[in-house]
Structures are given as structure tokens and as C-alpha cells.
């Protein structure tokens, strides 16, 4: 069993690498990325300044259209675009060191040693000496003359005037494998902090939705199978078809119009996870619970409606098929009561395909949640990912992907466990 799950996890590694690499490349190639946005912001700022004052000649040369090279380099370095794409990917994974606390350095053509202030250490100014040899190899010494262990430097460019420019920097390995998802460009905070509250919200809806779906669909499917062909079966089939024919989020929109107080009844709030913070803070615990439920009923209903049909039909058909099997005939023949035959023999066998679907459903929690979060204006996980794609907030998009892959992994394992629980014939090897 343990080896089986270990293999399962190991098999996820190539998938993980492959999909993250693919998304990484697509994101880097897509136009309108963070670098372009930043350049645009600086240019617009420069243009505005140029109109107001006139001292901006050094920032905007040529009417505010081009950035000076140093600013451009600075921006590129900030967003990591000074490295080739493979290096960026490895840095993101945490296999390749990041360059942090970098300072620019310059050597005149006849200059071979400079002193550079690189920050503070124990409250004192920290300076290092950088020595350059004929081949542009750099060596760094601390102020006491020993070779530096923490600072690195390299020459990046030699201009026509034989001016050697480069950077001095420290190295740090931090990436997915060390648990660092980076910082969001738009929120300016670590991605984990952006994700956490939103993930909880989506989890709340997803898990409640799954729970509700299962608790309604399984009994309904059983009832439909046992009274196959009756009027109850027919009516519930019609209802299920209706639910299947409109996507949950569109149905959510209809609910909002009907019950949101726009034109008809004013029963439920128009959206949001709970009431605005100023009202929310003043509520008692019970009031908070009621308020939360009040806001959650419509989205959860819209969320679960999509999987109602598939699950119910799966349950019904599974049970119907099992009821026509020989072993059921045998059970009846040996005099077992109908209750015992159905509940102990037939149902046990027909929940097998449903149990294995649990993991898949968990994956859908996130795929399907976006539209509903948008319709009901809930600041959840899917909406965050979508907004991040629009804003080209790459750290968030990639983190979204990583979480998605992890959830799929967990979902698969859950499916296997559920399958092994209901079907004792299954042995994992």
C-alpha cells in the first residue's frame, strides 16, 4: 500500500514539472507582462512630470517614449527578466540561486579594485572590496582582507568606452521546493498571504457543496432506481434534466434576479461572502452564523446543481444494473428480505463508481468555482486566479497552478482510499 502511494506521488513529479514549465513559458511569452506594465507606468509618470516641470530630461529622452538603459536594467532585474527563461524557471522552482541585495558596480578601463558599500552588518556600514583581473574575473574581499563567503559578483557588460559594469549580490535559494511562492506583483505581499483567506472561502463552498451533493444524490438515486418507471422517477428525472441543462453559475444569476431584490423577492443578499466588515464586526456569534448562511445558500445551491444530475444518474443506473444481476436473484431465492438484498448486497456494489469520483469532484471545486464566485461577487480562490491572469501577476498564477496540481494529487489518493474502503476486492500494489 505504502509503495503504491509512493509510486503515485513520484509519477506526479514529471506531470508537475511539465505543466508548470508549460505555463511558465506561456506566461513569459504572453504580451502585456509585468515588465511591460512597469515600463508603461514609468513612461506615463515621466510624461506627466515632463508636462508639469521640465527637469525630467534625464528620465525621458525623446518625448517620454524610451526609458534610459539603467532604469530598464533595474526593472528587468527586479522582475527577473535579466536571466534566460530556463534560469528563471529553475529559480522559481528553487533549484537555482536567486540574486538578492544586488548593487551595481563599475570599473573604468584602468581600474582594477573598487570598494563598494553593500549594506549594514550589526549596525555598521558593510563594505567589500572587489578586485578585477585581466580576464574580468572578480574576487571579493571583506574589509578585513579575507575572501568573502556571502557576496558574489560578475561583470555583465563592457561598453565601447571600456567601462566594465556588473553587479555584486548575495545568493539565496528560495522557490517552490523551499516553500516560497514569491511575492504578488499587484498586492505587494507574499503569495501565501494573498491565497490563504481566499482558499478558505473556496474550500468552504466546495466542501459544503460536495457534502450536500452526496447527501442528496445517493438517496435520490437509490429511490429512483427502486421505483424505476414510476411517476416519482419521471418527475425527478425532469427536474434533474433541467438542472443539467443550465450551468450552475447561470442558474445562480437567475436566482439572484428572483431572490436578490432586483425585480422580484428580496430574500437573499446580492453577493459577497458575508456582510460588509463594519456590520459583520458588530454581530454576535449566532448573528455571524446566520449571516454567513444567509449569504451562502444561493452560491452553494448554484454550485451543487451542476453535479446533481451526473451523480444521481450514476447512482440510479449503477443500482439498476446491479439489481438485474444473478447474485441478487440468488439472494432473493435463498429467502433474504428485500431490504437486506437491496441495502446490503446491491447498494454496496453500486456505490463503487461513486466513491471513486470523490477525488475528481475535489478537483472541480476549483475549476468550477470561478464563475460562481464572479456571479455572486465572492472574493474566492478562483476569482483570485482569474484576476491574476488578467493582471499578469505571474507568482499568483503559478501558485494557483501548484495548488491545483497538489489538490489533484490529494484527490486521486482520496479516490483510491475511498475505493479501497467500499470495495474490499481492490488491492493496491
Amino acid at each position: 500500500m505504502a509503495t503504491y502511494f509512493l509510486r503515485r506521488m513520484l509519477l506526479m513529479i514529471p506531470t508537475f514539472i511539465g505543466s508548470t514549465m508549460l505555463v511558465f513559458i506561456i506566461l513569459q511569452l504572453a504580451p502585456g507582462g509585468p515588465l511591460e506594465q512597469a515600463i508603461q507606468r514609468v513612461q506615463m509618470g515621466a510624461a506627466a512630470q515632463g508636462e508639469g516641470g521640465g527637469d525630467s530630461a534625464d528620465i525621458s529622452s525623446g518625448g517620454g517614449t524610451a526609458l534610459p538603459e539603467s532604469a530598464m536594467n533595474e526593472l528587468k532585474r527586479y522582475y527577473g527578466f535579466d536571466k534566460p527563461i530556463w534560469a528563471r524557471y529553475l529559480i522559481w522552482l528553487g533549484l537555482y540561486p536567486r540574486e538578492i541585495r544586488y548593487r551595481e558596480i563599475k570599473f573604468e578601463s584602468d581600474e582594477f579594485e573598487i570598494e563598494k558599500r553593500v549594506g549594514k552588518l550589526n549596525g555598521q556600514v558593510w563594505k567589500v572590496k572587489i578586485h578585477r583581473d585581466e580576464n574580468d574575473e572578480l574576487t571579493i574581499y571583506e574589509s578585513d582582507g579575507s575572501a568573502s563567503e556571502t557576496w558574489y559578483a560578475h561583470i555583465e557588460k563592457i561598453t565601447d568606452a571600456d567601462l566594465h559594469t556588473g553587479i555584486v549580490y548575495q545568493r539565496e535559494i528560495s522557490g517552490i521546493f523551499t516553500g516560497d511562492l514569491g511575492s504578488s506583483y499587484t498586492y505587494q505581499t507574499p503569495v501565501t498571504e494573498v491565497m490563504k483567506p481566499r482558499f478558505k472561502i473556496s474550500m468552504f463552498f466546495g466542501l459544503t457543496g460536495i457534502f450536500l451533493t452526496y447527501i442528496i444524490c445517493i438517496p435520490l438515486g437509490i429511490r429512483k432506481a427502486l421505483s424505476h418507471g414510476s411517476s416519482f422517477d419521471f418527475v425527478s428525472s425532469v427536474v434533474i434534466f433541467i438542472a443539467y441543462s443550465v450551468p450552475g453559475w447561470a442558474m445562480g444569476g437567475v436566482f439572484l434576479v428572483l431572490f436578490g431584490g432586483g425585480s422580484y423577492w428580496d430574500i437573499f443578499p446580492l453577493g459577497g461572502f458575508h456582510s460588509p466588515v463594519d456590520i459583520w464586526e458588530g454581530l454576535s456569534l449566532w448573528g455571524k452564523i446566520v449571516d454567513q448562511l444567509h449569504h451562502a445558500i444561493l452560491p452553494i445551491f448554484a454550485w451543487s446543481i451542476g453535479s446533481f444530475a451526473t451523480l444521481t444518474v450514476l447512482m440510479k443506473n449503477g443500482l439498476l444494473e446491479n439489481l438485474s444481476q444473478d447474485y441478487i436473484r440468488t439472494s432473493y431465492a435463498k429467502g433474504l428480505s428485500e431490504k437486506r438484498v437491496v441495502w446490503l448486497h446491491a447498494i454496496r456494489n453500486s456505490v463503487i463508481p461513486i466513491a471513486s469520483g470523490i477525488g475528481h469532484l475535489i478537483g472541480i471545486v476549483f475549476a468550477g468555482s470561478y464563475f460562481i464566485e464572479r456571479v455572486f461577487n465572492i472574493d474566492g480562490f478562483g476569482k483570485m486566479g482569474f484576476q491574476a491572469v488578467l493582471d499578469r501577476d505571474y507568482p499568483i498564477v503559478l501558485a494557483f497552478l501548484v495548488v491545483g496540481v497538489l489538490i489533484r494529487l490529494v484527490g486521486n489518493i482520496l479516490s483510491d482510499i475511498a475505493l479501497a474502503t467500499v470495495d474490499p476486492r481492490i488491492r493496491f500494489k
Binding site: A30, S245, L256
Partner: protein, 358 residues
């Protein structure tokens, strides 16, 4: 199992019918599915003639002794018919004027005289008009007629889903079939590719691609094909895998049949059944997907009529309930019919006779 079914469902003169005919006859007995099929086909065919039925240009117009066909020939300036308007003639007004003047000029307007594109810039149109006799389903945020747009969007949605389904099935069947038939390294490599591909957040990929190239009908189909061919390969691979091991394939092989012949002549017809029953449900999925993309604003370029775009407008203007009900209703009726067809097809291809003791 098939033999039992024949005995159950057919009488004497049906016994020699081909399997396809039998299935068709069985499908016909599924009332819901069959009537949905007929209605949907009729509506879809009619929807190609929409410019003659729902349009603001007359089908036939007689002015000064000569005959015009503005609905087909397109733009005609108003000055040509003696109307004092900038740009195109306002035919609805023209008709009234000529009627009042008892002029000998005449024109025949289409059944529903509004086009899905004429907005508030045309005289007499207003934003968010309530549903009325004039505008069956009201007007939208730019004064365009909702009913007209709904009908045009029906054609686009169905066409999109059908074309996409055919292309996706073609690719999925080819690759899935090859994977199942050849197996080995080919299968292994493609399985990994598919695994990686299916783990991508496809909505995001589509959004990014849509931001690079402005989507049109065929570009959208292309993007969606890239994303969506995977689902069918699973079915096809499993089918081919199963069929390959059967005796008739071994027999064909031992008789020296080529791979091509075995694949296309022997295995393919045997493995198509689950795929065909899957087809209507794929269409349902694709229509829904297009509505979703249009809703987000990454689907058909405006001003293409689309249910998703209308729903988006409706959800932003909650008090204009017809803007929500109309597109959801249209989508619901269409999809319901397709689902009924799917149910019928499934029953016709795979009839399970459940026999219970009690």
C-alpha cells in the same frame, strides 16, 4: 445480449434490417428524444435564413418602378429611396411614411423587423426597453433587440458546438485510437503529454491566447480544439485497447491484413458506439463553454450576438430581469433538447433491459 434485444423489440419484418436502421427505429420510439431532434434540426435549418426572417432590411422593396432586395444586397443609403436620413435607410419608418402617403412604392419587411446589430444610434431605439409587442424580449444596454440577438446567437452557438465537436472527435479518435492500437512507447509518451496537458488551467490558457490574438469564430474553435481534444482520447484508447485483444483482430492479422485496414475497417466501426452516445453531451458542454467565455468577454468579438454576453449585461443590471431570463431560457431550452436527444441516442445504441424479480 444483442440477440435478446432483437427478440424483445422487433417484429417479424424488422429482423433483416441493418443495425443502423434498427437503432434509428429504436430512437424514433423515444418520443422526447425524437421530437427534440426534429425540432432542433428544423430550428437550426431555419436559423440559416434568419436574415430574411429577422432583420431591419426589407425582403422586397419597390421604389419608382424598380425592385430591390435590401435584406440580401445589404446597405442602401436612405437618400436613394427619397428618405432624408444620414446613412442607411430606416425601412420601418419608410414603410409607415409610404403607407400614410398612399404612395405606390411598397416594401415587405421580414416577420420581425429588427436586426441584432442596430443600436441606439438608429432613430426610435431606446436602452433597456421592457418586453412588449414591438420588442418581444425588450432591448439591451445599447438598444439592440434582445429577441433578434437571441435567435442569431442560437445559430452561432449550435454551429460552434457542432464544428468543435466534429473536429475534437476527429482528433480524439485518431490519437486515442492510435494510442490504444499501437500501445508501447507511443502510448506511454502520449499519455504523459495528455496528463500534462490536462493539468493546465485551461480557462487561463484561453484567456492568455485570447489576449494575444483577437478571437473570431474559427480562431476560437482552434483554441478550444487545442484545449479540448483530450477527453475523447480516453474513451477511444480504452475501446481500441479492448477491441485489439479480441479474436476477430487476431484473425484479420493472421490473414495478413494491413494495420490501416484493421484499424479502419474492423476495429473502428466496433468502437464507435460509446463515442456516438457521448456526442450530444459533448455538444452540451461546448455550448455551455461558449456561453461562459462570452460571459467573461473572451469569446466571440463584439458585436457578435451571444447568450453569454447578454447574460453578462443582465447580471450587471439586475433590475432588467429580461436580460437574464431571455439568454438563460434560450440556453436552457436548447440544451434541454440536446440532452433529450442524447438520452434517446444512448438508449438506442445501448439498450439495457433491466429485469427485476420484485
Amino acid at each position: 445480449m444483442m440477440i435478446f434485444k432483437k427478440k424483445n423489440t422487433s417484429d417479424k419484418d424488422k429482423i433483416s434490417l441493418s443495425i443502423i436502421k434498427k437503432r434509428w427505429l429504436k430512437f424514433k420510439t423515444m418520443k422526447r428524444g425524437y421530437y427534440s431532434f426534429v425540432i432542433l434540426i428544423i430550428l437550426y435549418v431555419i436559423s440559416f435564413c434568419l436574415p430574411l426572417l429577422i432583420n431591419n432590411r426589407p425582403v422586397l422593396l419597390s421604389y419608382g418602378g424598380s425592385i430591390y432586395f435590401p435584406a440580401i444586397s445589404g446597405y442602401v443609403p436612405g437618400s436613394q429611396f427619397g428618405q432624408d436620413v444620414p446613412g442607411e435607410a430606416n425601412y420601418r419608418k419608410l414603410k409607415e411614411d409610404w403607407k400614410n402617403d398612399e404612395s405606390e412604392n411598397w416594401l415587405i419587411m421580414p416577420l420581425y423587423p429588427f436586426s441584432p446589430f442596430e443600436d441606439i444610434t438608429v432613430q426610435g431605439n431606446a436602452m433597456f426597453e421592457q418586453p412588449s409587442k414591438r420588442h418581444f424580449l425588450g432591448t439591451d444596454d445599447t438598444g439592440r433587440d434582445v429577441f433578434a440577438r437571441l435567435c442569431y446567437a442560437f445559430n452561432i452557438s449550435i454551429s460552434f458546438a457542432l464544428v468543435l465537436a466534429v473536429i475534437n472527435f476527429f482528433i480524439g479518435i485518431s490519437i486515442g485510437g492510435a494510442m490504444g492500437y499501437f500501445g508501447g512507447k507511443f502510448d506511454l509518451i502520449f499519455q504523459r503529454i495528455i496528463e500534462i496537458w490536462s493539468s493546465l488551467p485551461m480557462l487561463f490558457v484561453i484567456i492568455i491566447i485570447a489576449s494575444i490574438i483577437t478571437p473570431s469564430f474559427f480562431i476560437l474553435i482552434f483554441i478550444y480544439t487545442i484545449v479540448n481534444w483530450i477527453g475523447i482520447t480516453y474513451y477511444m484508447r480504452a475501446e481500441f485497447y479492448r477491441e485489439k485483444a479480441k479474436d476477430y483482430v487476431a484473425a484479420a492479422l493472421s490473414m495478413g491484413q494491413s494495420n490501416t485496414k484493421i484499424i479502419f475497417k474492423h476495429i473502428l466501426p466496433n468502437s464507435l458506439v460509446p463515442i456516438i452516445t457521448f456526442f450530444p453531451f459533448a455538444v452540451v458542454g461546448y455550448i455551455t463553454a461558449l456561453v461562459g467565455l462570452d460571459f467573461l468577454g473572451f469569446g466571440m468579438p463584439p458585436p457578435t450576438p451571444s447568450w453569454g454576453q447578454m447574460l453578462g449585461v443582465g447580471l450587471q443590471n439586475m433590475s432588467k430581469s429580461w436580460m437574464v431570463f431571455a439568454p438563460v431560457g434560450a440556453q436552457f431550452l436548447t440544451l434541454l433538447m440536446v440532452v433529450f436527444i442524447g438520452e434517446g441516442v444512448r438508449e438506442a445504441f445501448d439498450p439495457k433491459v433491466y429485469s427485476r424479480l420484485r
